[in-house]
Symmetry: C2
Subunit: 294 residues, 2 copies
């Protein structure tokens, strides 16, 4: 098996588009980043949808190779972390981009408010339990980052505990990467105005009422505090082995294409190979062809 990238080195070689989305490190000003942009892609919506469709086959091929490797002694996998404000499109990304993959090789976990049992453990306990098996593409719809986002904004933990968590996350992710997991962290970046439009659209459509919660507006009223919490999290937890990507997400088609590109980057970096047979192919063929006809 190829060995994972050594700790401290870049987690994966990126496409031009992936490179543009990747946070280079240091302080970040989300307000200065255009939520309607299409970094690394100069086509329109129709072209973007075609580009996504064209990624389906190479993604499926790479994913199957990774799955095969995992069934044959390989230790590697992929973890895609999706974060963003309400309506930023985590669910849409699961349907449109993660939905391109073979569901056999995908493990999605949607994190809700922690249960009493989960709260009785360290915040990384439930996250660790949800990690994908070898050969799989794991997807976190929300994640351990909620423990430094809503937990910070809503003061759900003492300030010193929040402080501790950034380093705990970095240490945990570094260990994960060293064990063979390629970690793709994405912040789906929408504007406050776009969120308003999307929430109103949910209210206008009775088939979308189930997605709406009055609490979404309470959280929205804390928009600046959330943006600041994201800026701090991105600055403090963008590491060489687990960098953040800021994905402009006002355009759904671009968001889908961007996440697919990052998955493709990660899988191409892993470059999984079809496992060699650990049996004698000719001998097995003879066992089949020599059997008495039934």
């Amino acid at each position: 098996m190829p060995t994972p990238a050594p700790e401290g080195r870049a987690a994966f070689a990126v496409s031009e588009r992936g490179a543009l989305l990747r946070h280079a490190g240091g302080p970040i000003d989300l307000a200065a980043l255009d939520t309607t942009g299409t970094p690394g892609f100069d086509g329109d919506k129709a072209a973007g949808e075609r580009a996504l469709a064209e990624l389906a086959e190479p993604l499926a091929d790479l994913q199957e190779r990774l799955f095969a490797e995992g069934r044959s002694g390989g230790r590697r996998n992929v973890l895609l972390v999706l974060q963003g404000m309400d309506t930023s499109g985590k669910g849409g990304t699961l349907r449109s981009t993660v939905g391109l993959l073979d569901p056999q090789g995908v493990r999605i976990t949607s994190f809700k408010a922690p249960t009493r049992e989960e709260l009785a453990h360290d915040f990384l306990w439930r996250i660790t339990r949800a990690l994908p098996e070898v050969g799989m593409v794991g997807v976190f719809d929300r994640s351990h980052y909620e423990d430094v986002l809503i937990a910070r904004v809503r003061a759900l933990a003492p300030p010193e505990e929040i402080e501790r968590r950034y380093e705990a996350i970095n240490a945990w992710e570094a260990e994960l990467a060293a064990e063979g997991t390629v970690i793709i962290k994405c912040f789906l970046h929408i504007s406050r105005e776009e969120q308003k439009e999307r929430l109103l659209a949910r209210l206008d459509d009775p088939t979308k009422h189930w997605k709406f919660n009055p609490g979404d507006i309470d959280e929205r009223q804390l928009w600046p505090a959330y943006q600041e919490a994201y800026e701090i999290a991105i600055e403090r937890t963008s590491t060489a082995v687990a960098p953040w990507h800021v994905v402009p997400a006002d355009r759904k088609w671009y968001r889908n294409l961007a996440i697919a590109t990052l998955l493709d980057d990660a899988l191409r970096h892993l470059d999984p190979q079809w496992p060699a047979a650990d049996f004698d192919v000719e001998e097995q063929r003879r066992r089949l062809t020599d059997e008495p006809s039934s």
Copy 2:
């Protein structure tokens, strides 16, 4: 919430195709059932693939409604059980049919040989832990039926324990159905000759060697014993609330279409409705439109 079908009543109204696939009860002779047939469909492969593609949208709509119901207090879900001999197409069904669904609402569990911990419990322990949450479509790639199939053929448990299991399965499935789960049990029926062709094709293609295990041929040599074990299982565990379906599976396109039809039947039977808002829509709209512009 609509209540689930009462125990003892048919689990779900079926389409003509679904009805033809459903085991009516009583003894079954698998050798007499054509593995190349296309019950309830008289088109060719291209027509079958079109028919499958046409099911994608209604399936996605029904699945989203079920998911929404589950997020809004509903207790219902679907469990698809896939069984069949090696190469019968359980993996292909996951990719081509289950892959039509939104992965957010799907939970796939592939059961391998039980671990030491699992063996220390009743055979239904690990199965119960893998049950889908409310609103989800759960899929079992192999299942508790292995405990009366390979366990019977390979004498992995004493005969009286195997005997006990049929009734234990029926009682467990009846309880599950009464709690709101629609259970779809499918035997993917291939011929012995077709399995030989598929195993040889795996040997011929280095990208498929990872799927091949010499033990597959050992199991194949017990073909008649496995067919008998399936016949006994189907006869003894086809109940009104959890009937078996025998799906001719030599033609992959028909197998995919048949399973999609059964999923569609189950979801249409549940007929999930968009949950009503449990908040005042106008009040929430005002909260959004009245907010100071940012």
